[in-house]
Symmetry: C2
């Protein structure tokens, strides 16, 4: 059934399941590469399928401004527009709007009130307004399989700000749900509340009562410590409905995947693996390499000897370093392929471990391998 | 036999054949995409194979400076370095060195004498010297299947300059041949002489006597008119040995392929299809499209309805325009795939037409289709 979530196995708090969308089943846990402007930067949809991507995220704020959600709808929706036949997820645009600070000496780029938020385009400075109703209209035009409610993202360690923002976030969640009509699109609620257990609990209870087909945990990985993030997950996740997918927004790194899965997270997205790729950083399960480093200039070995990705099967560290030093696009493409393959391999291995009841051992081995490498360095 | 050239069919001056290299047979006519820095910009070797590329060109000048030919040799040679298992061709670096003009107020970047040329690196201003012997050493380190002699590229319409340059070019060709030892690498001679029939004839006769395994026609498409270029081919090609491949360096466009093939050219290379792709220009056999144009913003059709490439099979003009407006790398990748596919399709169709004795009709239809489109615009 559309948007049903089958739990196939649990292992401690970790879960393996399948979320059913109109563009196919989504095995969980899953990591979604970020395609901000309707493209995951530097790779084709074909390359994304080859690295094992199933779900992609696109940013509503960017697509609303350019090329425009109505244009995308007229062209047959986001899937057809970007040539991705699998499941898609759009955020609400709220995070981008609330992240705008307005540079020094500039007019502030945003103004929030209880009805919505007025902001300026980063492209041309033009004024725009997002309300819960408007955001749902835009997300329905885009037509992703999973859409997100508009929420207010507060600094995670500011209690008073989080109290005020939470009231707005909850009112907006109700308004989003009230106007959402697309039967082929699942609208997820977003639990906020910063690092404060009582606010997270309040938010989880309020949103659970609204009966969304899935729940996100927002407002993390934006300034708090890792320990605070994990502690927040520890208190928040158990309060969410068991038979709905749980999505940790904007997280994370390889270690965040393992630790998030261990705490019962089903869906992740993060721009980091693709962003650092374009800066020359290769991820592996044991750490990261800066491929601009001169020590790789004559290194005939692959990025990661254990990796089966296209980059590691065909190219040396020396070649990839050359591509970055020579400012060649192929460097960004190969590291994007490698970093996404690394993330998705950790996800697949975790899922298999959960299904076979060995996730605790997998998690232990993951950390031991990192410590061993750290010890050698 | 290595570097044997089998002529399978001729149709007028046009020829279809196979040139045998250590990295496989090279069907001719062929167009070589340009991979200046050991990568065809914005695409992977896998994508190059998918568009039908067989032969790639890399630039000796660039690879000598960065990452260095000795480094590439130590890493197993250029094929392994760039992950290309098919045939490769390197130029001599002469064209790049002779093209340097030295900006306003700057020390001239090059000084030519009869023994060689001293130049400054465009990367760090360091001084370097190419002699015929040094260039062959570098090209042998790189290890392409086809290497080119060092020649002096003169402005094509300056008679006195061409007379002087030709003497040097011929002396350098002899010196290159004398020091070239790699049995798995074919060293091609380069016929020069600008647009002057008597100089081209002199050059063709001199170089033919040196018995190279292949011959290039250099110094064209660098300032002369199309009519002058075609007229020069008309007088030069018939003077070259029939059973050796003929390579028109740095040419060209879709129409240059058809007109070059009609005049007996077997091998082409040109950076134009990939360079214009990165600027948003899509080539087709009937013309070109600037994909930044606002008229494509809502256009759901592919770049070219007759094209079978990955870009045309999966994406609309509207999407590709969006990618360029949003400055997304995927735009460059998709247009590079499309433009190379277009070039290589014209090459394959021409070869089939020659083999079936219908090349004259193919050429006529090619021009009629262009005129029809021009007439509509």
């Amino acid at each position: 059934m559309l948007f049903s979530f089958e739990l196939h196995a649990t292992d401690g708090q970790a879960r393996a399941g399948v979320f059913h969308t109109a563009h196919g089943p989504l095995p969980t846990p899953i990591y979604a590469p970020v395609g901000t402007q309707a493209t995951v930067k530097a790779v084709t949809p074909q390359q994304l399928r080859e690295v094992g991507a199933v779900l992609l995220l696109a940013n509503t704020y960017h697509l609303y401004l350019r090329p425009g959600d109505e244009r995308i709808a007229a062209l047959g929706g986001l899937h057809r527009f970007m040539g991705w036949e699998g499941p898609l997820l759009t955020d609400s645009g709220g995070f981008q709007v609330f992240s705008m600070s307005g540079g020094r000496g500039q007019t502030p780029l945003r103004a929030i009130d209880d009805d919505g938020v007025t902001f300026r385009s980063h492209i041309d400075g033009s004024r725009h307004r997002f309300t819960p109703e408007r955001v749902i209209e835009i997300e329905q035009n885009l037509g992703a399989d999973i859409a997100m409610v508009l929420d207010e993202c507060a600094p995670p360690t500011d209690y008073d700000y989080n109290v005020r923002a939470l009231a707005r976030t909850h009112a907006w969640a109700e308004r989003c749900k009230a106007v959402h009509t697309r039967a082929d699109q699942a609208l997820f609620g977003i639990v906020q509340g910063g690092i404060f257990p009582e606010l997270r609990e309040q938010s989880a209870r309020f949103l659970s009562a609204l009966d969304f087909p899935g729940y996100a945990i927002g407002g993390l990985s934006v300034g708090e410590t890792k320990a605070q993030m994990y502690a927040t997950l520890d208190v928040t996740v158990p309060l969410l409905p068991e038979h709905k997918p749980r999505y940790l927004m904007g997280v994370g790194t390889p270690e965040d995947l393992v630790e998030g899965i261990a705490r019962g997270i089903d869906i992740f997205d993060c721009v980091l693996p693709t962003r650092v790729a374009r800066n020359g950083q290769a991820l592996s399960r044991t750490g990261k390499l800066n491929m601009r480093n001169a020590r790789f200039a004559d290194d005939p070995t692959p990025l990661d000897a254990t990796c089966a990705c296209y980059a590691c099967q065909h190219f040396s560290r020396a070649y990839i370093r050359h591509l970055f030093i020579a400012q060649e696009i192929l460097g960004a493409t190969l590291l994007t392929i490698h970093n996404l393959h690394t993330m998705l391999t950790i996800i697949r291995e975790s899922r298999t471990a959960i299904l076979t009841g060995t996730f605790a051992a997998y998690r232990t081995a993951f950390w031991e391998a990192r410590e061993e490498v750290d010890g050698r360095q």
